[in-house]
Assembly symmetry: C2
Homo-oligomer: 130 residues x 2
Amino acid sequence: MLELLLAERRRVPAIASALRLSAAQCHVLRLLEPGKPLAMRRVAEALACDASNITGIVDRLEARGLLERRAAAHDRRVRVVVITRRGATMRARLLARLTAPPPAIARLSRGEQRTLCTILRRALPPSQRE
Amino acid sequence: MLELLLAERRRVPAIASALRLSAAQCHVLRLLEPGKPLAMRRVAEALACDASNITGIVDRLEARGLLERRAAAHDRRVRVVVITRRGATMRARLLARLTAPPPAIARLSRGEQRTLCTILRRALPPSQRE
DNA sequence: GCACATGCTTGAGGTTGTCAAGTATCGAGT
DNA sequence: ACTCGATACTTGACAACCTCAAGCATGTGC
């Protein structure tokens, strides 16, 4: 019944292409809080895809100067990824558009939005609460 | 805030690959109610992508015997797509899994599920109500 | 030190997506 | 009837994403 709501799925690629990004690149940028390096392994887990995939995605983001690869101090096998200044401003623009309520939500009343929020928050596993 | 809930996005590809399908192929199958031919143009609109894309997707679904291309009676330019018997059973299995409540929803109480339903239903444009 | 696991990269192969160009058909205006 | 423009589909070239298998460097446990 409500899986129809997943028609919202089109929104992410649309926002992405407006910023000259792809959906996968958006997810990586979203993960990278400025100043917080992240091992590529963690990125692969977050995207739930093969590690070899991340190599290419990070390659393209790095080529555009949005992030950097660095060596990890504790383990020389792992490469961490850090967002650059340019990447951070891009990320801010991205997040602004992602969190802007889509038209489907805007159609709801203020009260409905609030109850929707609290219900959905309860549906999230406790680890992911922000 | 609740765009985090779109982490559910991973569910469709997962269900798809379990049935040896891809996400795009799932969407096409979902569109094709048995006995109701659909012009490829309409499929492209529903998927919000280029028409040339549909050619390949339909090619692969047709090669697996899940649907058929036919000529349209009223306009010889258009090709309509019809789901086959095999495609219909595949579609039934697909829909069963898609509409099954994901774990995030199952965590909610019965009453919360009901109010969630009614709110989301109001968020859908009236044309899409089922 | 050795065997094994782990993190990343590379290469091949398949699917999805874009765009541009081409063919066939339709519809309207002349 | 004829032409012109729009529409429906296909094809080809190219890029991105995805998986798998293989390879290299590094850590870890015996």
